[in-house]
Symmetry: C2
Subunit: 149 residues, 2 copies
């Protein structure tokens, strides 16, 4: 009869707090470039897919697990900052392709050192970080499967 309703026992609380602590480390680094963490994630996807067709809003949403209610205003801010362009697809007017501007492309090199800075802040080894990442990824997909039923 142990009591599970105790804060320090809760994995979820550890997850929620660790996630916010991580974003706290990003905040001052990204603020120098006028970015928030979710905006940085959008740029990561765009940098990664540079040789392919530019993704649509829903394509970005699928990668980042975010819906248009979050992405639409975020993308407007990235566009206002001159980092991306949103363009209605001529073939299908419902779709909006999101492309990098030269300024958006140029940011990639300037942010290349960010992952190293973050890894250092966690105090974990590269191996530990890989294990952690894979455990978290496993949880996330288990939860998504759980929701199917």
């Amino acid at each position: 009869m142990t009591d599970d309703l105790v804060l320090r026992r809760q994995v979820c609380f550890a997850l929620y707090t660790a996630s916010r602590a991580m974003v706290d480390v990003y905040r001052p680094i990204l603020a120098e470039f006028g970015l928030t963490y979710p905006q940085y994630l959008v740029l990561l996807v765009l940098w990664e897919g540079e040789q392919e067709q530019p993704p649509t809003v829903s394509g970005l949403g699928a990668r980042l697990q975010l819906d248009s209610g979050t992405l639409s205003p975020l993308l407007k801010r990235l566009e206002a900052a001159g980092l991306v362009i949103r363009r209605r697809s001529p073939a299908d007017e419902r779709r909006v392709a999101v492309e990098l501007t030269p300024a958006g492309r140029a940011l990639r090199g300037r942010l290349a050192d960010v992952p190293r800075q973050l890894a250092q802040a966690t105090g974990l080894s590269a191996d530990d970080l890989v294990v952690l990442r894979d455990t978290l990824t496993r949880i996330t997909s288990a939860i998504h499967q759980h929701k199917e039923q």
Copy 2:
């Protein structure tokens, strides 16, 4: 020369996504009681400290890593829902003690099964969850130490 600016390599993205997926599991469960996840966390702290003096707003903030800008409106909503009472300390008028109402206390029993439901949704064993929780807690405190310097 591997490229760290790739989404699936990022521990931080795994953390951010897992945290939101967890809250997604909580949402429908807590919604039956009119609660959000951060409100539930406040109640966990209050249930845990029932025999002690009721915590102040800043005391809650220290436990949950949240500031008054987040807690003040959240506590007003919990008070409006009849689950807590906020009371200025007579000894020090700056402090506001947060106490459970009988309705707030009664909720504890009705939510006793929530941690088990959550653990099941993750698809991890109890042992894996303990390891994960401890890794996350270690990261969070490493980050906090990192910020001191």
